[in-house]
Each structure stands twice: as structure tokens, then as C-alpha cells.
């Protein structure tokens, strides 16, 4: 759905965009660091609607003062954030990052480094990158565009982003600023609002069943008796997504209908 028809029903990708945007509701005046196309559209949507105080970057060293379409240059630059300042900003806590995950377990431990034995990985991926510093210092959410039992595993092969059980075991310095608000996937929205901080289904995207989610999850997921659906985008949100923020329909490349 790449046209500018704002009356067509919301697509799965558009539910994902709105679910990602919701991650930054009430975030206040902090840096939104979305990684991935759908989170990027979501952060821009949040800033254009209910979270106008968010700071956004151009993906490199500039803080942008307007909200351009994905891939377009900003018209306004409001600040400078080179990598060293970005890494320092993380430790101030005034940032909410949404990272990707090659593996994620039920306590929110995340892996983007490698699959298999670390000494001699079966599949080398990116490396830990900034996942350790992010997850211990500022709110860290995750985005998984294809929910599967290969991603949602009982135990990740390398803990890059720190989950609840690992943080608790490491003590107060690890838990002090540790916060994992949630996970958004192409099937639904998840959080860790359970007594043991294990992952819980928070909402299903319309058209998705609990069974589908259970089958695509490699661990026992907490599922409440009544599971709501992810909220619909408003007409204005659809217009912003389709006409202004992602007119080229890049969201559909990350999330198939």
C-alpha cells in the first residue's frame, strides 16, 4: 500500500508503525533513537502527533528540527550529536532507543552479535554494538519485523542487551537505570508486566490470533485472559504516514501485508 489513499483500511505495517510510535508516548523531551524503518516512521509519527518534544537525529550527527519524510534531508537542524556525544547522552538516560534483535528471550535478553558458540560462531552478525550501554542506561525497546521461534528463543546465544533476570543477578548498579518498556513485532505488542518479569502478550495486531503468536514464540509466553487488539491508527495518523512521513511505502518492505 504505497498510494496516498487515506481511506483504505490500515495495513499490518501501519499497525506496526502506530505500535512503535506508542513506545514514545509520554517520553517527554528525550532523544528517540529508532533503529529500523518502521520504528523510524513510528518515532516521526509520535513527534508529529502526541510527543512533539522528542529529539530526533538524521541518523548521523545532526539533531533535526523538522520531521522530514524517510530518506529526505531535514530542512532545519537544531543541534549537533556526533557519536561521542551520543554515547555520552545514553548515560544521562534522556533517550529511549528501539533496537533490533536477532534473538530475544523471555526476560528480554537480546542478541545481535553472533549465532552459535561465541568462540567460533556459526553465524557472525554485527557484534554487541551499543546494546550493553543502552540497556543499562536508558529505556530500551525492541522491534522484530518477523516474529518467529528463531528470534524468540528460550536462551539467547550472546547477551548483548541485558534482560531482567541478568540485570537482577548482577545487582543494583545493573538494575538502577535498567528499563525494558516493551517489544513490537509484526504480530503484536509485548511487555514484561508479569511477577517474574517474563514476556507477556499485551496486544494483538488485528487479524492475528493468540495461537499464531504462541506458535511463533520459542518460549512460554504469558497471555492474559482477555487480549486487546492494537489500537487503530486515527485518520490523521494514516494521512501522516501515507502522505508525509513514508510516501514511498518503505514500511511495506519491512513488514509484509
Amino acid at each position: 500500500m504505497t498510494g496516498t489513499d487515506t481511506t483504505a483500511a490500515p495495513t499490518r505495517a501501519e499497525y506496526c508503525v502506530v505500535a512503535c510510535a506508542e513506545a514514545w508516548r509520554d517520553a517527554g523531551e528525550v532523544l528517540a533513537s529508532p533503529m529500523g524503518t518502521v520504528p523510524m516512521i513510528g518515532a516521526r509519527l509520535a513527534k508529529r502527533t502526541f510527543a512533539p518534544d522528542l529529539l530526533l537525529t538524521d541518523g548521523e550527527a545532526l539533531l533535526i528540527g523538522d520531521v522530514p519524510a524517510i530518506g529526505a534531508a531535514p530542512a532545519i537542524v537544531e543541534g549537533w550529536l556526533p557519536y561521542r556525544q551520543h554515547l555520552a547522552l545514553v548515560t544521562t538516560g534522556r533517550r529511549h532507543v528501539m533496537m533490533g534483535a536477532s534473538q530475544l528471550d523471555r526476560y528480554g535478553n537480546q542478541n545481535i552479535s553472533c549465532i552459535g558458540d561465541w568462540e567460533r560462531p556459526r553465524r557472525q552478525l554485527l557484534g554487541v554494538r551499543g546494546a550493553p550501554v543502552n540497556s543499562l542506561n536508558n529505556p530500551t525497546s525492541y522491534w522484530v519485523p518477523r516474529h518467529s521461534a528463531r528470534v524468540f528463543v528460550e536462551r539467547v546465544d550472546m547477551v548483548c542487551g541485558v534482560g531482567h533476570d541478568r540485570a537482577a543477578a548482577a545487582g543494583p548498579s545493573a538494575t538502577r537505570y535498567h528499563r525494558l518498556p516493551g517489544v513490537v513485532t509484526d504480530l503484536g505488542v509485548f511487555d514484561f508486566e508479569t511477577p517474574d518479569r517474563g514476556m507477556r502478550l499485551r496486544s494483538l495486531h488485528p487479524g492475528v490470533t493468540v495461537e499464531q503468536v504462541r506458535e511463533a514464540t520459542g518460549f512460554a509466553l504469558a497471555v492474559p485472559e482477555e487480549v486487546p487488539y492494537t489500537r487503530d491508527p486515527t485518520a490523521e495518523e494514516l494521512r501522516l504516514i501515507r502522505e508525509e512521513i513514508d510516501p514511498r511505502g518503505l514500511r511495506d518492505r519491512e513488514v509484509r501485508a
Partner: protein, 282 residues
């Protein structure tokens, strides 16, 4: 100096820091000169990009200290991936911020810096020599003591420098090139253009003067010396060439052809071969 003279001062077994970040403003001409030398058995400290890929593929790295290796527009660095999967080097895998604080500790001649990053993650598991340190104050916080990342040599690439080693970046991000140089015993900067000291601030503010000559031991004029990584505002990443590199790196036969075509001669030959490549692409 020439790139060959820089490499002539490096020794096998050294710990070498390489500036830039991912596929951005990497001292690629110096890396290519390193590939033409017989310097090997290196410990490389880098926010990894194709510098790491090329050196790993050539078997020059004994130990790699990094948080990632990427080509940015191509997420995975294929030579780094292949070298890791065949166990070609030892990896010291640190978080991005831990790298910055390790370099900072070296600059300040401190043994370590306390950081929160790393706690509870497998960075602590895969680096069993990492230790924690407890705050002597009332909070009694236990934090990671990131050891100083001291370097024997640093290699960085900037937009401009004067002949004395005052180095200037003109793009949006200095990356960590000053930390690399100040953390090193000896530091070498290649640049797009060597200019007279009096020219440095003609069109730019004083905050662009990233490197002080007291921390630079040699300057190399290397136009297009970051190619195929970006060197904004002088040039963007050569995406077409990088794609060609990444595709070739995934296939042994194609990589032999790539090496024969681009990496078997000197820097002039490299430039000519890249120009010919773009002629064919056009």
C-alpha cells in the same frame, strides 16, 4: 611522508588503532599500504569497517578489539564475518561506549575508567579478564573497570592537515580520531590535502582543528585516501564500489579477481582501477 614510509615504521605484533567509524572516514590508503607490506600479527583496535575486513581477510590480525564491524549501507562486513566463522583471529568484543572510555583512559594515562556499560551482559563472559571496581563513596556502586586501550600506533584520515600534523575534520562528526592519536605512542594522519597552517581557518571555525601536532608523528597527503568509505564534505561513500567489494568478498573466485584488479598495485594503480570501474559502470 608517504603511506609506505608510515607503514615502514610499523612492526609486526604492534597494537594499532584505526580511526573513523564503520564505513566512514577510514584511513583506507594507509590500510592498503599495510596490505602491501609484510607487517602482521597485529592487535587492531577499531570501530570496525572495511579496514578490519581487509586486514582480517589478509590474515594480519591476531587480536581484534571492537564493538562491531559493518559497512553501514551493507550491514554485515563479509570478510569480518568469514574470518570470525573460521576462527581467524582472537576477538575482544567490547561495547561501543566501553571502547570510547578505554581509549579515554589511555589518553589520561589512567589504568581504567569506571562505566556501567557491560555489567550483566556477555561482554563480561567473553572477556574473562574484565574486572569490576567498587565506588569508595556511600553509593558503593559496583561498576566495570574498562582497561586503558593503549596503542603503539594510530592511523587516521582527515580532510585537511598542515605539514606539522595539525589535523582538521570538515564533516559533521570527528568520530574518535583525536582519542586514537592521543592514546598512541605514535600517530599518523593521512589527509585529502596538506595545506599551509595559515590556510586551515580560512573557511572553517577553530573547533574543526581536531588533532594537535604534538600528538601526530607523520602526515601523508592522500587524496581520496578514505575511498571507498565516506569523507564528507570532500566525498560521500562510493556505494557502487562498496557493493562490488561486498559481493566480491562473499565469493573466493570473485575476491581473487577483485584483489588482482584493485589491490595488487600501488595507490596510483588503485585509483586508476577505481576510475576504470566507474567508467564501466557509467
Amino acid at each position: 611522508m608517504t603511506a609506505e614510509e608510515v607503514v615502514g615504521r610499523l612492526r609486526s605484533g604492534m597494537t594499532i588503532g584505526i580511526g573513523g567509524w564503520g564505513s566512514r572516514r577510514k584511513p583506507m590508503a594507509l590500510v592498503r599500504a599495510l596490505l602491501r607490506s609484510d607487517v602482521t600479527d597485529l592487535t587492531v583496535v577499531s570501530y570496525g569497517g572495511p579496514d578490519v575486513g581487509l586486514l582480517a581477510d589478509a590474515g594480519r590480525i591476531r587480536t581484534l578489539v571492537t564493538a562491531f564491524a559493518t559497512l553501514d549501507s551493507v550491514p554485515l562486513e563479509p570478510h569480518f564475518v568469514a574470518a570470525r566463522q573460521r576462527g581467524a583471529f582472537e576477538l575482544v568484543e567490547l561495547d561501543e561506549a566501553m571502547m570510547m572510555w578505554g581509549l579515554t583512559a589511555a589518553v589520561h594515562r589512567l589504568p581504567f575508567m569506571p562505566v556501567r556499560a557491560g555489567l550483566a551482559s556477555d561482554v563480561m563472559t567473553v572477556n574473562p579478564s574484565l574486572r569490576t571496581v567498587t565506588s569508595p563513596y556511600g553509593d558503593r556502586e559496583e561498576l566495570v573497570a574498562v582497561p586503558a586501550l593503549r596503542l603503539d600506533a594510530a592511523l587516521v584520515h582527515l580532510n585537511r592537515a598542515d605539514p606539522h600534523g595539525n589535523g582538521q575534520y570538515l564533516g559533521p562528526d570527528p568520530y574518535f580520531d583525536d582519542l586514537f592519536c592521543e592514546a598512541a605512542e605514535t600517530a599518523y594522519v593521512s589527509c585529502e590535502r596538506i595545506v599551509d597552517t595559515s590556510e586551515l581557518l580560512k573557511d572553517a571555525g577553530p573547533q574543526t582543528l581536531l588533532l594537535k601536532r604534538a600528538f601526530v608523528d607523520g602526515v601523508v597527503e592522500a587524496p581520496n585516501g578514505a575511498h571507498f568509505t565516506s569523507c564528507v564534505p570532500d566525498y560521500d561513500r562510493d556505494e557502487a564500489f562498496q557493493r562490488h567489494y561486498a559481493e566480491a568478498a562473499r565469493d573466493p573466485e570473485a575476491w581473487r579477481e577483485f584483489t588482482a584488479r584493485f589491490l595488487s598495485g600501488d595507490e596510483d594503480a588503485y585509483r586508476a582501477a577505481v576510475a576504470a570501474f566507474h567508467g564501466e559502470e557509467a
